[in-house]
Amino acid sequence: MTQTKSKRLVIEPVTRVEGHGKVTIHLDNEGNVAEARLHIVEFRGFERFMQGRPFWELPVAVQRLCGICPVSHHLCASKAVDFFVGAGHVPVTAEKMRRLMHYGQTFQSHALHFFHLSSPDLLFGFDADAKKRNVFGVAAEFPELAKQGILMRKFGQEVIKATAGKKVHGTGAIPGGINKNLTILERDTLLADVPQMKVWARSAVELAKSYTLENVELAKDFGTFPSSHMCLVREDGALDLYDGGLRAIDSEGEIIFDHVDNQDYLDYIVEGVKSWSYMKFPFIKSIGPENGWYRVGPLARINACTYIDTPEAEAARKEFMAVTNGKPNPMSLAYHWARMIETLHAIEKIEELLNDSDLQGTELVDTSGERRLEAVAIIEAPRGTLFHHYRINEDDQVEMANLIVSTTSNNEPMNRAVRAVAEKYIGGAKEVTEGMLNHVEVAIRAYDPCLSCATHAMGQMPLVVELFDAAGGLVDRRAKGLALEALA
């Protein structure tokens, strides 16, 4: 059909992600997609809030960025603050307690996303009735799966509580170390649940793998595009979610940079800005703003690491990489499979740590080193690489803070996924349906974006689509689940 007016579609807000975002899709006179963008519609401002505050507040204060994955911010800020108190290397008990906290966080966050935010799309289909395509639908039709997701998340939260003191906004990590070790009772209580968690994590990997392989033709053309990938890796190239050097690879798997010291990130990463978004657009400096964008998060980590140091997750990684003959997997939908491999890795690491007597050590803090006034820390948050960069003055007040959260790094990839899916499923369509719009949201959701972290937001996210003519006039408006209403 030849359309006589160019149109602008707005999906606002995007659903089943954390925070507020909207998508605008501009259609040309032929109804093809001329432009598609993901907008983050609020402003965070945390970097400014922290200026003038004493640095020791950072590990607790930055958690207020989010009530969902505060542990990543808590630990990343703690790693930076370690330098301010002369603790470039914290005691072994402190590091292992922090790692345990982090793997607990990864486990619960990935479980929540897969079972309760994304599984409705995967189980019912992207076009399924929106009244069913939600967590209640999963609970009604797949109750065992829903229970598994809930119990996996609960277990992860218990790990966090045992290490951080609270499930949300804990205080376990302190400048130079940790404020408690793990008691034998805490250890044994957690260990008792590990076998069941491993069973469920294995089955989640199988579910995500089966879905991807059974729908590989869909996945190949659903927000699929080559990209660079970035993550932390250990000295030997192993996946390391807590610490390591930065590695970036190109779309063929060739190394762009490797083992970059956290303190030197500004020599490798630049934060670009665009007039239409509050979110920045980071890129690899040596490649430039046009092509230097990259993916982070589970897909990037599985693509970029040399191997995984836990046996079951490593076997799963090999299966994953075999699909693309060892080359980086370019499919946005493959994030789900990668995320479940990391979930299995997380429970393997939790088991390994719980059986490590270092967690009962009593040396918890070390501040014997040389103090610095500027520090960078990087951690692999569930959604991807997280940067915290601070500078303090001689009075211990924060002078500068800069955070690059994983959703910011995934900004350009998500925009590309939105455009690709919009072109395929909306471009040229005679009528825009809720199912078509959900396809766009599915592409965004695969990245598990935390728009609250990327900017600042909370609240309800109804979906509104607005059609504009070439002159910018509003022609039609669709609220999610409602019929189009003519406004002319």
Partner: protein, 164 residues
């Protein structure tokens, strides 16, 4: 014989935003009472895993702050609400009940206690004087109900305390 119920109090809100911390403050009050078979938890927001605790209780009381200026507090019944508005990581009281019902086949008697807040738009821990007074009034009315643990008394109380 008076039925003796187990009660779960879930106070939610952000104590770092002044009166938004009324829910957690009420949960702290209940914990301090030390009543048998009355459990109180405070949290920033309700999460899917809270449905597990729900399913183990006879009565659940969700406690939140409200901007409604009409009364110091309201106590109203809550029903399971499996609406597709679940869009984020947080869950509404009705949504949580719906999940509990779907997964466990039953949901407890549920009530939403809303306590009037006066100051929300500030970054500060601690309640305003007005909110502290309203909290005390709500606590004075709810304490006998919590001590009695009689489902019928809760049902009867709603007619007097639900002004929504």
């Amino acid at each position: 014989m008076i039925p003796i119920a187990s009660i779960l109090v879930l106070g939610f809100g952000n104590p770092g935003r002044a009166d938004d911390g009324l829910g957690p403050a009420f949960a702290d009050f209940v914990s301090a009472l030390g009543l048998a078979r009355v459990q109180a938890e405070s949290m920033y927001q309700l999460q899917v895993e809270d449905s597990l605790e729900l399913s183990l209780s006879d009565i659940v009381i969700f406690v939140d702050a409200t901007t409604d200026p009409q009364a110091a507090f309201h106590l109203c019944p809550v029903s399971a609400d499996p609406s597709p508005s679940f869009t984020s990581h947080e869950v509404s009281p009705g949504g949580l009940l719906a999940i509990a019902k779907a997964l466990h086949g039953t949901a407890p008697d549920a009530y939403l206690l809303t306590i009037r807040g006066h100051e929300f738009n500030c970054f500060r821990e601690g309640l305003s004087a007005g909110a502290a007074e309203d909290l005390a009034e709500a606590a004075a009315h709810l304490q006998p109900l919590l001590e009695a643990r009689d489902p019928e008394l809760f049902r009867a109380a709603v007619s007097a305390l639900c002004h929504g």
